[in-house]
């Protein structure tokens, strides 16, 4: 047995001491300096989380420090439950960041209200005067101010959305041309065109591999989701809530027109013109179905997901002659038609009470004023001049002549905060959604497509943002969604009696009480 030497013993004790010291250093490592720049923490969702975080030498942070004397610490929060859990844990520990963009999933939409009631969120009224330009340009819309009001004070810096009507009903124009069809106008036209797309080999490959209509069901909400919005819109019921009675809202389910819309969808199912996977297909699989396999003739889809250059490229590669164009929603028996619903709710920013108590209000206002306009706006939204963008003769942002254009893959990590500071002017939208040329020489202008979609009939349901979920919201969603799927797929017969029984089942779930409470809430907040 070799006896350890003094040196070995010393080495062992040194390792133990180093381990303890490292714990001590780690514990002390996050102390902020009381002198020098103001430390501000900002939490927000990334614009494109899949490309990773900005580099450690991110120029944006350097500019904020040099120009504003602020040490900005940015944390990009993932979407979904993990991000919500981080916010909830921080709130429980009174450790919310100084400035953050609350963007909760549906299941946590009342979390923010709880934080306000718990005194964790600061009223932002005192900040308006400190950032006059931002207040005038972004935070003074009366409808948005109403949304931000809780117990007589504003707790959110609420902007109006720039692009409110992103979803459109699209049709394969090349298929219409090939089959000699006109764009469908009525529900009957819609069914006939869907049949032609399904059975008449519109892609000319000799296989029965197409469907007239592709859709997916929404998750986390009542009903079938926005894919079927135009079909319900033909009966004046494009959304979950029925806004057709002045001074009162109700669930669209209760309207007789809802049953008629379900019958229309069932007829699509029975005619086998809708992809049968619609009940379970994920968003990614549906994207693959229309983008890579070219299965669908009509679908409801985000305008940018369909026709922005990067998103369109896969479809363009596989189907260079393929052509999507917006389609007006079908008109129902009463002459009504809607593509769907929209809200005007845009970017939201909140300030923690801890930050205001720490005297950081002026720094927050200074940062927002700088980032919302001037140099900060360009740095946050586009990057560095000449590197990531240039200005054309009219002074509008363009990627032409830039070494790493702001819309390129390589530039994606450096403008992860762009969604917070976009101003959604027409000039900016034109820059963001650049025109491009397809493989067969057509020019596509995504922003023109958006404007076409925006010009179609939509229903404003901004006030629905204020509706709090029912205590048993998940049970209600499951009951309704399962029932609708069973009716449409034929698992349950769809008759007036079975439908009445289905609607009566909502009573047992407390839905009428929830609707009553919702009306009271909206009335008290001045939305009805």
């Amino acid at each position: 047995m070799k006896i350890a030497t003094t040196a070995q013993r010393l080495a062992l004790w040194s390792c133990l001491a180093a381990l303890l010291l490292s714990l001590f250093i780690a514990a002390c490592s996050n102390n902020t300096s009381s002198n020098g720049p103001v430390d501000l923490t900002l939490w927000a969702n990334p614009a494109a989380g899949e490309v990773g975080n900005p580099p450690s030498n991110w120029f944006f942070l350097k500019e904020v420090k040099d120009k504003l004397n602020i040490n900005l610490h940015v944390t990009l929060i993932p979407y979904g439950d993990p991000g919500d859990a981080k916010f909830n844990a921080a709130a429980a520990a009174n450790n919310l960041p100084d400035l953050f963009a609350p963007n909760f999933s549906t299941t946590n939409s009342d979390a923010f209200l709880k934080w306000v009631r718990g005194g964790l969120i600061a009223p932002v009224d005192s900040l308006y005067a400190m950032m006059p330009q931002s207040t005038k340009a972004r935070y003074s819309d009366s409808q948005m101010q109403k949304l931000a009001l809780i117990n007589g004070k504003h707790y959110i810096l609420q902007q109006k959305a720039g692009l409110t009507t992103r979803l459109g009903l699209f049709v394969r124009k090349d298929w219409l041309d090939k089959l000699g069809l006109q764009p469908p106008k009525t529900l009957a036209d819609f069914l006939n065109v869907a049949k032609a797309f399904t059975f008449n080999d519109p892609d000319g490959d000799g296989k029965k591999d197409t469907y007239g209509f592709g859709a997916s069901t929404g998750v986390g909400q009542i009903g079938l989701g926005s894919s079927f919005g135009p079909l319900f819109g033909a009966f004046g019921l494009p959304g979950i809530w029925n806004y057709n009675t002045p001074g009162k809202i109700n669930l669209s389910l209760y309207d007789p027109g809802y049953l008629q819309a379900v019958e229309i969808i069932k007829s699509l199912q029975d005619a086998k013109v809708i992809d049968p996977a619609w009940t379970t297909i994920s968003g990614a699989d549906m994207t693959a179905a229309w983008k890579q396999q070219g299965k669908y003739g009509m679908m409801v889809q985000d305008f940018c997901a369909t026709l922005c250059q990067a998103n369109y490229s896969q479809f363009d590669t596989n189907f260079p002659k393929g052509e999507w164009e917006p389609l007006a929603p079908p008109v129902g028996p009463s002459g009504q038609s809607f593509v769907g619903t929209y809200t005007n709710v845009g970017t939201r920013m909140a300030v923690s009470q801890k930050a205001l108590n720490g005297g950081k209000g002026p720094a927050i206002a200074k940062f927002l004023e700088w980032a919302n306009s001037g140099d900060g706006y360009y740095l946050a939204c586009f990057g560095q001049k000449s590197v990531n963008y240039t200005l054309d003769a009219q002074g509008n942002v363009t990627g032409t002549g830039a070494s790493v254009p702001f819309y390129s893959h390589d530039a994606a990590p450096i403008n992860q905060l762009r969604a917070l500071f976009y101003n959604n002017s027409q000039a900016e939208l034109k820059s963001r959604y650049n025109d491009f040329t397809t493989k067969d020489g057509r020019t596509i202008s995504p922003i023109n497509i958006y404007n076409m979609v925006h010009g179609l009939p939509w229903q404003d349901q901004t006030s629905s943002f204020e509706i709090q979920p029912a205590p048993n919201q998940t049970d209600i969603n499951t009951y309704v969604d399962q029932g609708l799927v069973q009716f449409i797929t034929g698992q349950k017969p769809l008759t007036q009696d079975t439908w009445n029984a289905f609607i009566s089942g909502l009573d047992a779930l407390g839905v009428p009480d929830w609707v009553t409470q919702t009306n009271q809430t909206l009335k008290s907040e001045g939305f009805l």
């Binding site: 996050n30 993932p78 979407y79 991000g83 998103n311």
Partner: protein
């Protein structure tokens, strides 16, 4: 002739000494069939992930992804794009740092605690064991743990992920039992030679405990390599983001980035990019495991004590 008889005898002796092949019974065939089914159920989804990651964009037009895609048609575009991203390399490095440091700290703490608890004469041993097992049975939950970590000023530090789970009680108990099964005479002989406890641990116990150290080290390693929730919860700085968090963002990108004007990942099918990210994240553990597995099968206490 005598030689042939001798040879035949030798041959006969050799034939007799070889074990006779057992005829497979119906039951054996049933077991084989069942195991084959289990193998297929386990292997096919993994193979599907691999195939998707190698499917080129053009082939997705025909009908999606094909389980039997010939290697001549495989495309490495998804891997090329994934590996060319600085974010991926950076996150990979962060995961390696977190895993190595986490496994090191956890093994040190678990080993020292387990060894100390093997001594029946340790003052307060029963109290320690009771408290330790109490934490095994009851978990305070997310919020109190977060508050403790925050109050210790460990947020935005890898120690926030390593220290709260510094000792896994189940592994601790397994290691304790393993140490208890090492013959006490080994320790006694070392004590007679003048070794102290740390010397005994370092020079005798640990060398004999390679299988258990590697097994538990592997379990800790797999935990840290795959952990994405704790990094999201405790880390704020983007520089520290490990690979599972990036992978989570990539896998969710198909639902998100179609709604932004510049889709950063578009030269390969979106599903291929996701699956390539999954495969790349899996590879380190796949490489490490076979290397460690040979230590599991080595005998313990070879030539140590003859009693």
């Amino acid at each position: 002739m005598d030689q042939s008889i001798q040879v035949e005898s030798t041959v006969n002796r050799k034939r007799v000494s070889r074990p006779r092949k057992r005829k497979l019974e119906v039951f054996d065939w049933g077991v084989l069939a069942f195991l084959l089914i289990v193998l297929l159920i386990t292997f096919i989804p993994l193979w599907y992930v691999v195939i998707i990651s190698f499917t080129p964009l053009q082939l997705t037009k025909a009908g999606g992804y094909n389980l039997f895609l010939p290697p001549t048609q495989w495309s490495f575009e998804a891997y090329r794009q994934m590996l060319s991203q600085d974010a991926f390399a950076h996150a990979f490095f962060n995961s390696v740092v977190l895993t190595v440091s986490g496994v090191t700290v956890n093994l040190i703490l678990t080993t020292l605690t387990a060894y100390a608890l093997t001594f029946k004469g340790l003052p307060g041993r029963n109290i320690f064991l009771t408290l330790i097992i109490f934490t095994f049975l009851f978990n305070v939950g997310l919020i109190p743990t977060y508050m403790v970590v925050k109050n210790l000023n460990l947020l935005d530090n890898y120690l926030a992920i390593i220290l709260p789970g510094g000792i896994n009680v189940y592994y601790l108990l397994v290691m304790k039992v393993f140490f208890q099964n090492i013959p006490a005479s080994l320790r006694e002989s070392a004590l007679i030679d003048g070794a102290n406890e740390l010397q005994i641990l370092w020079n005798i116990i640990l060398p004999l405990s390679k299988p258990i150290l590697l097994a538990i080290g592997l379990f800790y390693g797999v935990f840290y390599w795959n952990d994405f929730f704790n990094p999201i919860l405790y880390l704020n700085s983007g520089d520290l983001t490990p690979l599972p968090v990036l992978l989570y963002n990539i896998l969710n990108a198909g639902n998100m980035n179609d709604y932004v004007q510049d889709n950063a990942l578009y030269t390969a099918p979106v599903q291929a990019l996701k699956m390539a990210a999954v495969i790349l994240a899996m590879l380190p553990m796949l490489f490490v495991y076979p290397w460690i597995q040979r230590y599991f099968t080595k005998g313990v206490l070879i030539g140590s004590v003859k009693e």
